[in-house]
């Protein structure tokens, strides 16, 4: 094969040779099937996006921007919007992440740096099992086991931090007989249940990057008289920064889309409510799951539009997570 390289005249009279030997037959089969499966995943994800986008056109054409500013969801009055739902979605996700982040971080550090060898493998399996529990179970757990206790914490928070708008509850927290029902079925309790699903995801990513922290640097910190926590602070955390952020965002993506647990716990309420401890909220996925059954054609389109918005938000969060992880030192070799 003769190729000319005009930009490199100094190559001399022998041009570079063709170094592509071609694939072996077995490689060719594997290469082909792997490519097909890879493409299939891309096509699947892409087609979901295209389908949702296409279905959203009539709704967006009909309601325009008011779809994003209207809080109520009353198809019979032709008032449909996702403003309250989006706020609720982020509230639940925020509560979940505030709980899940420190928990996952400490759990991952304990597994990689503190736990004795025998306990370590048990813990890893336990955390993986946590991820495998169906979300409906977490919903039931949250509703029947967690809620009766969590409302006491909610009341305490509103007693002491009620002056911060998000912790305010529209009832007298100090009343002798306090209105327990004002504290149940809130975004706070749903967030706690969702955090149980976010923890294993964040923990798995963090654990993987903590384990990669270079032994040489760990030993250097130890030889300087550093404690285990000192080593974590100077070596492990700076090294794993990308993985910590990325893992957290991955878990956030999960928390944003969580359906079953939220559906069980939260009582629907279509107002923009910054009070996370107070009964009633609404998330996007809960809206879709709750209204899907008896929707007319136009309502279905509206629900799919809400789904499209959620899809885009999750896609954005996950993409940012992937970029953060890949750009960091620890994640240079990992893909999420």
């Amino acid at each position: 094969m003769t190729t000319t390289f005009p930009q490199a005249p100094s190559l001399g009279k022998r041009p570079p040779r063709d170094l592509n030997p071609g694939l072996e037959p077995s490689d060719r089969i594997f290469h082909g099937s792997a490519t097909m499966i890879g493409m299939f995943v891309l096509i699947m994800t892409g087609s979901i996006g295209v389908f949702l986008g296409y279905q959203s056109i009539p709704t967006l054409r009909h309601y325009g921007l008011s779809f994003f500013t209207q809080t109520s969801w009353q198809p019979e009055l032709d008032k449909i919007g996702i403003a309250a739902v989006l706020v609720g979605t982020f509230e639940v996700a925020l509560v979940a992440m505030v709980v899940a982040f420190p928990f996952a971080l400490m759990l991952a550090l304990f597994i990689t740096d503190y736990a004795p060898k025998q306990i370590k493998s048990w813990l890893v399996s336990a955390v993986d099992l946590m991820a495998a529990v169906p979300s409906i179970i977490y919903g039931l757990w949250g509703f029947y086991l967690l809620q009766p206790h969590a409302i006491n914490l909610a009341r305490w928070l509103s007693q002491h931090f009620g002056w911060i708008p998000i912790f305010h509850v529209d009832t007298d927290p100090n009343a002798a007989v306090w209105q327990q029902s004002r504290y149940t079925s809130s975004a706070f309790i749903a967030g706690l249940a969702v955090s149980m699903m976010a923890i294993p995801l964040a923990c798995a990513v963090m654990r993987a990057v903590f384990d990669q922290a270079p032994l040489g640097e760990r030993e250097a910190a130890m030889a300087l008289g550093g404690t285990r926590f000192g080593v974590a602070r100077t070596v492990v955390f700076p090294f794993a920064k990308g993985g910590i952020i990325g893992g957290t965002m991955l878990a956030l993506g999960r928390a944003l889309g969580e359906t079953a647990a939220v559906l069980i716990i939260v009582s629907p309420d279509f107002v923009i409510k910054p009070r996370i401890l107070e009964a009633g909220s609404q998330t996007t996925s809960q809206l879709i799951a709750g209204n899907f059954g008896d929707a007319t054609k136009s309502q279905l389109s509206a629900l799919l539009t809400a789904g499209f918005v959620l899809f885009l938000i999750t896609l954005l969060v996950n993409s940012v997570a992937a970029v953060v992880i890949r750009r960091s030192r620890s994640g240079a070799g990992t893909e999420i």
Binding site: E219, M222, L224, G225, T227, G230, T234
Partner: protein, 295 residues
């Protein structure tokens, strides 16, 4: 005003501030940030070591005089590095590591109950085979990393003085004084290794252990490190593991020859002054090794 003068001034301030924390013996060095340049005697008595039940060192005794360089030589896998890591309790950080015997620092057993490994390591610093500066830190942050790690707070001026003193002692100051805020990982391999030496010196150790500090470096960088060792020798006790026989002859005053027979744990064949070990060895195995007949 010279750096030394400034340092001695601030060091009395520091001393006054933490009078209550200073006790005797090992606890002593928890405090002094600005080193007193006191070298210590190190003595290993009948040390044996195991990894997961396999004996790797058998009954090793070695006395290291203060303010001198002691070289540990011997073929790969004979337990030199394990022995070195026993000297500052890094050995126990490996899973399944065990130990018998005593290591005395100025007469006090560093393995005695009640002595924390973190305190021992502050007094007996270590430089590793592969340069390992903290990549997320600047050059000056790397030098004082040991203080941050052990929660010792110092003023801005003291910090600057300490950075300059340690980098000067490690022979790196002139090369990096204009870029102290640049990342430590941007330096060349030899410079990184000297940065690691400066970092180890900053916590004020009485002994410095070096585990093949030049084996990853080019000849020029190796020579610079050897010069640094020669300059440090008067102020601090140094124990160096090396595979390079010429290097051992150049930098050390005393030497110990380690050997592990096939299937047996390692031990010291012979130790003594470097000149004697190289020119007039008692044991024929030592003679064979130093003359390059095996290993």
């Amino acid at each position: 005003m010279s750096v030394r003068a400034k340092l001695s001034g601030s060091s009395t301030d520091n001393e006054r501030g933490r009078k209550d924390t200073t006790g005797s013996g090992l606890a002593n060095l928890r405090a002094p940030v600005l080193m007193d340049h006191s070298a210590a005697t190190l003595e290993a008595i009948e040390v044996s070591a195991w990894f997961s039940g396999t004996k790797v060192l058998d009954d090793v005794s070695l006395s290291v005089p203060p303010a001198s360089v002691t070289a540990l030589i011997g073929p790969s896998g004979c337990g030199k590095s394990t022995f070195l890591r026993i000297l500052n309790r890094m050995h126990e950080s490996v899973l399944g590591a065990q130990l018998a015997g005593e290591v005395l620092l100025d007469g006090l057993d560093i393995y005695a109950s009640g002595h924390r490994p973190t305190d021992v390591r502050k007094q007996i610093g270590m430089v590793f085979q592969k340069p390992n500066p903290f990549p997320s830190m600047s050059i000056s942050d790397n030098v004082v990393a040991g203080l941050a790690l052990t929660n010792i707070k110092i003023g801005k001026q003291d910090r600057e003085d300490l950075v300059e003193t340690c980098l000067t002692r490690a022979g790196l100051w002139n090369e990096v004084k204009d870029r102290l805020n640049r990342p430590g990982s941007a330096l060349s391999g030899g410079q990184q290794q000297r940065l690691c030496i400066a970092r180890a010196l900053a916590v004020g150790p009485k002994v410095l252990l070096m585990d093949e500090p030049c084996s990853a470096l080019d000849p020029t960088s190796t020579r610079r490190i050897e010069e640094t060792i020669a300059e440090l020798r008067t102020q601090i006790t140094i124990v160096i593991v090396t595979h390079n026989m010429q290097q051992a002859a150049r930098v050390s005053q005393r030497a110990a020859f380690f050997l592990a027979e096939l299937g047996a744990p390692g031990g010291i064949v012979e130790s003594g002054s470097t000149t004697q070990l190289f020119e007039n060895p008692v044991d024929p195995r030592t003679e064979d090794y130093v003359n390059g007949r095996f290993g």
